[in-house]
């Protein structure tokens, strides 16, 4: 048994194209997930008891079921209720909605970490709700929220590999296809694993840099 990596590396441009799709879907999906999660957490924080309870249900369902089952349900089940999506939009929506549930919990914990006295003080000082969120709540919870938020971004990066199973032409699908065309499965998967590993370590590094920067923010 010998391994021949040359046949895989010769397809470099194709692998890079797959990597590009992975990174684009990851970044777009993470930003959408964080934005949606923030909206959900904010609605739960300020919307009253009914909204809080009503939103806890989808959050718990999304957090309690596998991402794979969610995207299968969306991509293969969607057409039966008139929701016919191409692989890339389906993957992006799936990733964003899944991630949003986790980001909603991260921001919820962030809101809870800010002492109510600060919010009341802001109200006494005549701050509107929007101003309170922007100038009091967000800056105060930023340091607490950043590590889990970055961690979740890395989890979402790894989850993008599952999108290959609904035929999104991202890196895992591209490299597996090359592997079967060249009959070099092991080599293709080793390359794939190494690229993901590098990407995740890079993302972790960026996260640590962001944390360090934020933790010294405002200190003289």
């Amino acid at each position: 048994m010998s391994f021949d990596f040359a046949v895989i590396l010769a397809r470099g441009p194709q692998i890079l194209a797959g990597l590009g799709v992975t990174i684009l879907i990851w970044i777009a999906g993470t930003l959408l997930a964080a934005a949606l999660g923030f909206l959900v957490a904010t609605a739960r924080r300020f919307g009253g008891r009914f909204v809080d309870l009503a939103l806890s249900l989808p959050v718990e369902i999304l957090r309690g079921t596998p991402f794979l089952v969610q995207i299968f349900l969306l991509y293969f089940g969607g057409p039966y209720i008139g929701l016919r999506l191409d692989p890339i939009p389906a993957g992006l929506i799936g990733l964003s909605v899944y991630g949003a549930a986790y980001y909603a919990e991260i921001f919820r914990a962030g809101y809870q970490s800010v002492p109510t006295g600060h919010v009341e003080a802001a109200a006494c000082a005549g701050f509107s709700r929007g101003q309170t969120i922007r100038f009091i709540l967000l800056p105060e919870m930023a340091l607490l929220v950043l590590p889990p938020a970055m961690n979740m971004a890395v989890i979402l990066l790894k989850e993008t590999a599952l999108l290959s199973l609904i035929t999104v032409p991202e890196m895992t699908m591209t490299v597996s296809a090359i592997g079967s065309q060249q009959y070099a499965f092991v080599e293709s998967l080793v390359v794939l694993a190494l690229v993901y590993w590098a990407l995740v370590e890079l993302a972790n590094l960026l996260g640590r840099l962001a944390e360090r920067r934020l933790s010294t923010f405002g200190t003289p």
Binding site: M1, E60, I61, G64, T65, P66, F67, L68, V69, Q70, F72, L73, F76, G77, Y80, I81, K158, E159, T160, A161, L162, S164, L165, T172, S176, F185, V186, L189, V190, L192, A193, Y196, W197, V200, E201
Partner: protein
């Protein structure tokens, strides 16, 4: 969606529970060994543990499973899909559990380790009888959390051909043309299992003895 189909899903979920439970426990054992290696003075052992943990946490589980599934036969090892799935899930969860345990090991009060030394414990004895139980107790909530993550991640072992809940749902969806109710039911079964695991985890957490102080 008939009762017969739902029953098939329930049967397949037993395989999901089996694979997850065995992987969690095997992963825990490997994680303790990895922790010992990481805290040892031997640079080679330490380096191995660090790279192992970084690799299995840095590569998507799907890619790990595909790699193991393709690598073993090319090395002349043929295993049933259940064994392949167990190896893949155990190694992956071991890396995550080792990372969880790190905090626990770091949190063991130095006084306890010193007391163990005074009482004549060797380094290995103090690791297994003092530090490990305390680290496990401290990180128990993380273990329950990891169990839930692995239950969900076990859906990926469908790619190595093991018929568990997700694979059964895929097969039924393909043969009945009812993906919507079938995948929704599979999701509900996962949710139900996870709710039970989380509940039992909280009960166990309360029943466990408190931590010693030193």
């Amino acid at each position: 969606m008939t009762w017969t189909l739902f029953e098939l899903l329930l049967q397949a979920s037993l395989m999901t529970i089996l694979v997850s439970a065995v992987s969690i426990l095997a992963g825990l054992a490997i994680a303790i060994v990895l922790s010992a290696m990481r805290m040892s003075g031997n640079a080679a052992l330490k380096g191995f543990a660090v790279v192992f943990i970084s690799f299995f946490r840095g590569v998507p589980l799907l890619v790990q499973l595909l790699l193991i599934f393709n690598l073993l036969p090319s090395l002349g090892i043929t295993l049933p899909s259940l064994a392949t799935a167990l190896i893949g899930l155990s190694l992956c969860t071991a890396a995550y559990q080792a990372e969880n345990l790190r905090g626990g090991f770091e949190g063991v009060a130095p006084g306890l380790i010193e007391s163990a030394e005074m009482a004549g414990f060797t380094r290995a004895q103090s690791f297994f009888w003092i530090r490990t139980p305390i680290a496990l107790r401290m990180t128990f909530p993380a273990l329950v959390n990891e169990a839930i993550l692995i239950l969900k991640a076990s859906s990926l072992v469908s790619v190595v051909g093991l018929i568990e809940l997700t694979k059964m749902a895929q097969n039924l969806a393909a043969s009945t043309y009812q993906p919507l109710p079938i995948f929704a039911s599979a999701g509900l079964i996962y949710l139900a299992i996870n709710v039970v695991v989380a509940f039992l985890g909280r009960r166990a957490e309360r029943a466990l003895p408190g931590l010693p102080s030193a």
